[in-house]
């Protein structure tokens, strides 16, 4: 009985997958049009090539399965939001892993009194870490505007806010990032 249920599930899954697969050629056109911008944004958010490939793949997988294969109304908006969300969850996971690892390493390093130099990598990773901690509306503006290099008009349209609000959000985000980075430098 259980086996039968599993096999029915599999049949159902494959049938659904086939239905989704019907016309995926438009995805190729989307990939060609926005692929480069998307890769650039993901690279800036993640800073790791393997993660970029994974996030890119997940984004297009989501796009292919959006409402049973239906093309979203505004593909670019969907694509950039999905990509930034995917990248964010990967970034958070990475941060959590690093935290766990650093707590192990710290116990060993405490006695050695290691001086940490502020180098480029530290600065960029620090910024990525703080961007991941920003409130959602501020984070989206930073991701789309600074990492995705979209215009304020596009950012505003994607987020459903006015251009002025998008500018204000970016300003607030930068101020918050500056405060957090300063606080960390003090500690």
């Amino acid at each position: 009985m259980f086996n039968k249920a599993v096999s029915y599930d599999l049949l159902w899954d494959s049938a659904a997958f086939e239905a989704v697969d019907e016309s995926q050629r438009w995805i190729l056109a989307v990939m060609r049009r926005h692929g480069h911008e998307l890769v650039t944004m993901l690279w800036r958010i993640l800073g790791n090539e393997q993660d970029v490939c994974d996030a890119y793949q997940t984004t297009f997988l989501r796009l292919a399965h959006h409402e049973e294969g239906l093309k979203p109304k505004w593909v670019k908006a969907y694509l950039f939001r999905a990509a930034s969300n995917t990248a964010l969850s990967m970034l958070r996971q990475r941060i959590a892993e690093r935290k766990a690892l650093s707590s192990v390493v710290q116990t060993a390093d405490d006695t050695q009194d290691v001086q940490i130099d502020i180098n480029v990598k530290h600065l960029t990773e620090n910024l990525r870490y703080h961007v991941a901690q920003l409130p959602e509306h501020l984070r989206n503006v930073i991701m789309l505007r600074d990492f995705g290099e979209l215009s304020y008009a596009e950012v505003a349209r994607i987020m459903g806010i006015s251009v002025g609000t998008a500018r204000v959000y970016r300003c607030k985000a930068v101020q918050l990032l500056a405060t957090w980075m300063n606080r960390e430098a003090d500690q």
Binding site: L28, R32, H36, E49
Partner: protein, 176 residues
């Protein structure tokens, strides 16, 4: 005589100003505001020089700006787009994977946009444009000035000969 209502301008009678005008005015306002109250303003600089709290705030903002520009300037490998496309293509159906566009995408490399591609021709084009402008100005401005100087000089000489040697002599020398 028509009286204007409060807040009404003569301009509003003739129609709305164009968006480019608004943009220009806005830009000028922002520039002038920045000059007066922006971080480059002398009184702000004087204050920052003696205020550790503001120094810290500005340093933080500078740090964020620096980190953002470092992130933006870090290049990825040229084949990253190709690899990402290949990875994403694996999730598509057979039909889409076998399409010609898919093969092209698997070989895709990031290409600079048209403006960036033309960037290397910017200097030679600017030089040629400058030469053409100089030639045009020389032709239109300097040569016409020379002509004017020449004509006025001739008239002055003719006037001199007329007064000193008589009208006939002057006419003989300078023609009719």
């Amino acid at each position: 005589m028509k009286f204007l209502a409060r807040g009404q301008t003569t301009r509003s009678d003739q129609g709305k100003p164009s968006p480019s005008q608004c943009r220009r005015i806005r830009r000028r306002l922002v520039d002038s505001m920045l000059r007066r109250v922006g971080p480059e303003a002398p009184w702000v600089q004087r204050h920052v020089a003696h205020c550790p709290r503001c120094q810290k705030r500005l340093a933080g903002l500078g740090k964020v700006d620096l980190a953002l520009s470092i992130i933006k300037s870090q290049p990825h490998r040229l084949d990253l787009l190709m690899r990402a496309n290949s990875a994403a293509m694996r999730m598509l159906n057979h039909d889409a994977r076998e399409a010609t566009a898919a093969k092209e995408l698997e070989q895709a490399r990031p290409e600079p946009c048209f403006v960036e591609r033309c960037g290397r021709y910017r200097n030679p084009v600017t030089n040629v444009a400058a030469c053409i402008a100089i030639l045009f100005l020389t032709k239109a401005g300097i040569f016409s000035s020379f002509d004017k100087v020449h004509a006025r000089g001739e008239a002055a000489l003719k006037q001199y000969y007329t007064t000193q040697a008589g009208e006939e002599v002057a006419r003989e020398i300078f023609g009719a």
